[in-house]
Subunit: 333 residues, 2 copies
DNA sequence: CGGGGACGGGGAATCGATTTCTCAGTCGAG
DNA sequence: CTCGACTGAGAAATCGATTCCCCGTCCCCG
């Protein structure tokens, strides 16, 4: 683990000054092509790679952005992370990923950590529409922040998300076309903007078909909750014609548990969900689910960050993307 | 996004030199308690937080370790990551997480990235027992490296893993106790050390009960492969008494697919798996699975890293942990 | 009473890359 | 032929925290 090679070593090997070496390596135009060639050659031969810290210290940039998601066991977030990584790779930047474990305190700690690491920007899927505000506000004072998928409005940052109203509308419409008349909604408590919007949308679009008492089961974005909800549903008498689920993580274990109890899907009950994640395609039957254009959303999130770095005084912007339902076997033929 | 507060600002506010301020903040004993108090107060009031890069540049330490796993959608790796994070938090260090997407090239890129970021150490779950060697060797020349769970021997780094031989032995023994006589193994191709060891162990311990032609199905550590394997199994005539699965990720979708085809588990076939991950407890029936002491393993991994930083010339060490089978419904009563 | 030692604290060097600043040397125009 | 604009490249400052080195002070003891 010997001392590593610095720009001075390269400069010495190429018989130029460190200043020139630096310029040559950066591809600065005002350097003699012959010299540039020598420097590049020396750099290659010595296996030079710039010290990230020295550079960051001087330039105040890290070419790194940070991302904080509530749970890396949720395939939807994993997809988002991968999409962002892809976009960043195009411009030779990289990503530091953190998991907030769906906990406000952990989220705050992770956000602080990343701000301390002077990331150029921060993409956060906030844990709570309300309690995530302080940490995000504080972070936004130091660095560009974009909220992703969910929003804690009062933080006043940029935002990229999906049109949940439209997504749920498509779900209910699709189910109606399949002949369903009574609906139940199984999702997360409205502590996040997505949970809230999806729930409201369901209330509105399925208004005339919600089972009076058992039309809503609200818990968390977790597989455990899906299993629990399924049990409640089974205990509580006749099933509705269809279930709208707030997320694939919930729907997958819900589906598995229902089937284990002898319920046939889609025959006995139809099931639609949200996120169109990879795990929804591994169940039998596969899930009909609302797809969001995650790649475009990731690109937009990065674009917003870059924009804010140029001009920090911009007002908070929101980019909302239209979703699209993907029909599979869980809603039958 | 104004200029941030430096140690000089704190020093000025406390009417001391930057040198003293720095010492005071580090809790160095040779500083007058009264001054230390002033400095700490000033620091608090100004909301000072040290520039990570300046510090790293000077001290050559980052108080950060990097971790590279093949897939963050595998709950077993997620558990490992969380365990490592926990251990690091005890000493105020943090983790940078990367996903190698089960791809040697991506793995090499991520490892390089982390080495470039001058992490104090690197914990890697290598993608391949053979092809991961070059990147790991190169990394190990720059920084302390511990391989975790799987090993690419020739890289010559430290290693922490489980005793796969013993784990599989327990599986087969348990199944024999349950009255099983014929076995099939469904796992990953032996491109990783774990896959290889588990396969060999199965060969040895189940030798007298392996179905002649269809005793081994080898693919990848993925849910897709579990589904595919289940189909193959169903197409190929009578099922064995029991299936030993190389990992929960495979077992979960295998189980789901079998049940969808009307196979009753554990009545028609018993199923044991490896990793004892969270997803294995969400299926119906829940999986009997081999548990590894992930917390202790994480602690040991960090300990090995720290040891190597002290003395880089140590020979490569291996720490092998004994696993323990956890019996649940998938192997019946 | 003077000298040695302990101790606290400040000045300045250091980590490495980048970016002024500065100054030879060149070229074209008058 | 001379002067100013221009070019390219090196010297040095900068980013911010840490730490080595050294100096002044004070105490204690001979």
């Amino acid at each position: 683990m010997g001392r590593s090679i610095t720009v001075r070593d390269v400069a010495a090997a190429a018989h130029v000054s460190p200043a020139t070496a630096s310029r040559a390596l950066a591809g600065h135009p005002s350097v003699n092509p012959e010299m540039a060639r020598r420097v590049l050659k020396a750099s290659r031969e010595l296996g030079y790679s710039a010290n990230v810290f020295a550079r960051a210290l001087r330039t105040q940039r890290t070419d790194t952005i940070g991302m904080v998601v509530p749970s890396i066991s949720n395939p939807y977030f994993v997809a988002a992370v991968e999409a962002v990584e892809q976009v960043l790779a195009e411009t030779d930047r990289s990503l530091i990923l953190c998991d907030s474990r769906d906990t406000v305190a952990t989220e705050a700690a992770r956000v602080d950590l990343l701000v301390g690491r002077r990331v150029d920007g921060l993409i956060v899927v906030p844990v709570s529409a309300h309690d995530s505000v302080p940490a995000l506000r504080a972070a936004a004072a130091e660095v560009a922040v974009t909220q992703f998928d969910r929003i804690a409005e009062a933080a006043g940052t940029d935002f990229v998300g999906g049109d949940n109203d439209e997504g749920v509308r498509q779900c209910v419409e699709h189910l109606r076309e399949r002949g369903c008349r009574t609906f139940a909604y199984i999702g997360a408590r409205p502590t996040t903007s997505t949970a809230d919007e999806r729930l409201r949308a369901f209330r509105r679009f399925a208004a005339d078909g919600v089972a009076p008492d058992r039309g809503f089961l609200l818990g968390e974005f977790s597989a455990e909750w899906g299993r629990e909800a399924a049990r409640t549903l089974l205990d509580d008498g006749p099933l509705p014609d269809a279930i709208v689920c707030g997320a694939d993580v919930i729907a997958v274990s819900l589906l598995t548990t229902l089937r284990a109890a002898g319920v046939e899907v889609p025959r006995d009950v139809k099931l639609v969900s949200y996120d169109d994640s990879s795990m929804g395609q591994l169940t039998v039957p596969r899930l009909t689910s609302v797809h969001q254009p995650i790649d475009s959303m990731a690109r937009e999130a990065v674009r917003l960050l870059d924009g804010r770095r140029e001009d920090g005084s911009l007002p908070a912007r929101k980019s909302i993307f239209a979703p699209d339902i993907v029909v599979r076997e869980s809603t039958g033929v």
